[in-house]
């Protein structure tokens, strides 16, 4: 993109086009002949990784939009229908939802790399500011995307974030009304967020073009921070940077696949598997992990307007970085003091992220204020002062000189995963209003781990428990009789599922006479609801409507604590839901402990948050007859029904893990080949 191209096509057709539109020359000069510093390390592959992630998000997003219904009454179920009914819908949805997290992991690494190596300094100020704009657009896009599934966190996230604008003096309330299109967050809000969520990625793509353009005018920075002087300092973009980026990307995809196929809900919040309820705020409301540091800054300021201003300033201050840090030496490699402060700053950001996930009380508030102070001090005090007083070490004469002191690949890669892992751990620390309830014991589930499979006998027994006990009060609106015969499920035959469906009566109609009538259930029907509507369910159950059980095994969780939740990402622990369900069903106690006053109409359960549960103990020994000789004990019933509910919540679990194994093996082979190809290519350059 800089200057006229030297590219001369030979093919007459290409020649003809090139004379009229020099697009091949543009591509050639930008992505083939373009000189890149030869000393770039793997931190520089994240630009390419980010372009890839933007592509993944746009492609999967366009496909999801083909199946999604942006309506307050239908959105939640349409997302579930994607996961359950659309071919590979679960894959596309997990690609997209985890893709957002991967996008942010990559962008944070990309930003910290720019910060460390001084990539914002002259002549790259505009390049850097365009990057800050992309980041802001990403945050807006990510937020609006999170609203679309219309779960509890979607709804309340939308409420809280839009209310930020109410802090603006005089115009605040009017702006919020404009954002909502109503008196509160509702269907108009969802519709406009859907529209904007579809639009913004293309705006991002446009700014990315400007970002790359600016990059190709100024040229890439490099770890030494000295500009290329001779041809020996650079290598052509293709094949050298291309193959290096491809190898870096393949490693990143492996990391991404781990989340998609094995821990797809690790970074999400269980509350978002509860449909939006405008009448109940979740006990502990947190944004997605990538906003947590800014959320912590917001909460640590006890004044509404000042808090919002601080939060936005924390992002905007980045745009002024080129002028706040006026040191001539770019790379922190040669600025020993600034380097130490940089790592302290990284720690401050991670600390803020950790605090953002904690309830705003006690020591967390104090710590939040200290770290907020440190965050701003780094930009407004430390960097300006350091750039004036610090005496940098001598920088190498040229990039070619710098290559002699090159560090190993392994160390860089290890660092990539360490930072990615650290960023990921923020999310695991979501409290589920544990209220001092003991942690549910972890059971051995057949479906846990990378090779996990459901035990068909257990699912059939669990279905029996559900049908004979749970279904008296609880609906399962997302599960259909046809699902009972789906592969990876309880293993009923189609004939058995049809017979089970025929046992129920379904209201259908109207018929030719305009009257509703009852007919026997069909395999396409969903499990019947015990109550005609929520009010009836509420009235019949002492004011607390029994929740739908379809997603119960993913909609409940509990805190695993630090550092356990980090290990959970590696051990693929995804069984909080079934553990919790089993614990609740076995956790009833006839007499509450001394000093606990049980409210009227409640029952004591040691695992239920707050302990006072409206549901009476539903299970007793020998209540349900098992035909396969399995012990008829409460513990067994609870285990079986928890497994059944896990299947109901994640019916494609077996397919996901099976395909996951194939993909992981393929990607390992591919990454290995790319590594050796990269070595072969770079052998010429050394």
């Amino acid at each position: 993109m800089s200057g006229p191209s030297t590219f001369q096509p030979q093919n007459p057709v290409l020649k003809w086009i090139e004379r009229r539109l020099p697009i091949f020359g543009l591509v050639h000069s930008s992505f083939v002949a373009y000189p890149t510093p030869r000393n770039l390390n793997y931190w520089w592959t994240f630009g390419g990784i980010l372009s890839f992630m933007l592509g993944v998000q746009i492609i999967t997003g366009i496909i999801l939009a083909m199946h999604y219904t942006p309506h307050a009454d239908l959105a939640f179920n349409s997302v579930e229908a994607i996961v359950r009914d659309v071919d590979y819908g679960w894959l596309l949805r997990y690609l997209h939802s985890n893709g957002a997290s991967m996008f942010f992991i990559a962008v944070y690494i990309h930003m910290l790399r720019g910060l460390y190596y001084g990539s914002y300094k002259e002549p790259r100020e505009v390049l850097w500011i365009l990057g800050v704009i992309i980041y802001l657009l990403m945050m807006a896009t990510g937020f609006m995307g999170y609203v679309l599934p219309w779960g509890q966190m979607s709804f309340w996230g939308a409420t809280v974030i839009t209310n930020l604008f109410s802090a603006i003096p005089y115009f605040g309330e009017s702006i919020v009304t404009l954002l909502w299109g109503g008196y509160s967050v509702g269907n108009p809000t969802l519709n406009r967020f859907f529209s904007l969520h579809y639009l913004l990625p293309f705006v991002i793509a446009g700014v990315v073009v400007l970002h790359v353009w600016a990059l190709h005018v100024a040229g890439q920075n490099n770890p030494a921070g000295v500009e290329p002087k001779t041809a020996k300092d650079t290598v052509p973009f293709t094949p050298y940077a291309t193959i290096k980026d491809a190898f870096g990307l393949s490693c990143f995809i492996l990391f991404y696949c781990w989340f998609i196929f094995y821990i797809p809900n690790y970074l999400g919040d269980p509350d978002n598997y509860i449909p939006a309820n405008p009448g109940v705020t979740p006990a502990h409301i947190v944004p997605e992990w990538y906003y947590l540091p800014f959320y912590a800054i917001l909460r640590s300021i006890p004044n509404k307007l000042a808090g919002v201003a601080a939060m936005f300033s924390a992002i905007l201050v980045l745009a002024f970085l080129p002028w706040l840090d006026s040191a001539k030496t770019r790379s922190l490699r040669y600025r020993p003091l600034a380097k130490q402060f940089f790592w302290i700053f990284v720690g401050v950001c991670l600390g803020l992220g950790y605090l953002g996930a904690k309830p705003p009380e006690g020591v967390y508030v104090v710590a939040g204020r200290i770290l907020t102070g440190c965050y701003f001090a780094y930009f407004l005090i430390v960097l300006p002062i350091l750039s004036r007083i610090e005496k940098p070490r001598p920088v190498p004469n040229s990039i070619a000189d710098d290559v002699l002191g090159k560090k190993g690949v392994v160390a860089s890669l290890a660092a990539v995963f360490a930072v990615a892992g650290l960023l990921a751990w923020d999310s695991g620390s979501r409290a589920q209003a544990a209220d001092h309830a003991p942690t549910p014991p972890s059971l051995n589930w057949s479906f846990a781990g990378p090779l996990g499979k459901f035990d068909q006998g257990q699912l059939q027994r669990g279905y029996k428990v559900y049908k004979e006990v749970c279904s008296a009060c609880h609906s399962m609106n997302l599960v259909h009789y046809r699902n009972l015969a789906d592969p990876g499920g309880p293993g009923f035959t189609v004939a058995q599922a049809t017979a089970l469906a025929a046992e129920i009566q379904v209201k259908d109609g109207p018929n030719d006479a305009g009257e509703m009538f009852e007919r026997p259930g069909r395999i396409a029907d969903k499990f019947p609801s015990p109550f005609p509507n929520e009010n009836a369910a509420r009235a019949a159950n002492g004011g607390a409507a029994p929740p739908d059980l379809s997603l119960m095994a993913k909609a409940r969780g509990y805190e695993r604590g630090f550092p356990q939740f980090i290990f959970d990402a590696f051990t693929q622990f995804q069984e909080k839901g079934p553990n919790y369900i089993h614990a609740i069903l076995t956790g009833f106690e006839d007499t509450p402990p001394h000093g606990f006053t049980l409210p009227e109409g409640s029952f004591y359960n040691k695992y239920f948050p707050g302990h006072a549960m409206k549901m009476p103990n539903p299970l007793s020994d020998d209540q349900i007859t098992y035909e396969d000789g399995t012990p008829q004990k409460v513990d067994q019933y609870a285990t079986d029904v928890a497994a059944f509910l896990m299947w109901a919540a994640e019916p494609k679990l077996e397919e996901r893990k099976r395909i996951g194994l194939q993909v992981m093996i393929f990607m390992l082979i591919f990454a290995g080949l790319l590594y050796f190809t990269k070595r072969a290519v770079w052998a010429d350059a050394h």
Partner: protein, 175 residues
Amino acid sequence: MTTSSSAGHSRRDFLFVATGAVAAVGAAAVAWPLVAQLNPDASTVAAGAPIEVDLSPIADGQDIKVFWRGKPIYIMHRTAKQIKEAQSVNVSSLPDPQPDSARVKEGHDQWLVVIGICTHLGCIPIAHEGSYDGFFCPCHGSQYDSSGRIRQGPAPLNLAIPPYAFVSDSKIKIG
């Protein structure tokens, strides 16, 4: 020296080709789910299960339209005149030759069950209209006879017969 460097070259070429081939396989594998998601989803498939239709309310000379898999299905109770017309046509003179016996179920001559979608470009023909006592498509003027066979106009084929069977004399199961 020459031999070892050419051996090195062929090893490198093999590596490049192998990497490229694996990349191509990966790209194809990625394309698969992106295309497969366009298929009808499981709920659509389940909703396309067979339906039963009671024929008893349909009087001689009347027709009804029911929907199966999103398609309109005409069930026409043919009059004796319509049956006679359908059976007496010279089959070989038709654009899409088919005897009436191949269009109805044996012993149920009075019942014509056809998918009401014009084989030209998918419009819905109007029953009991046109010059052949059958169907007339208002979009481009195709005319079908009382057996649902194309007689005149741009449509190339007879109206399609859905899979169906008589459960009893007055009830059919479509699908």
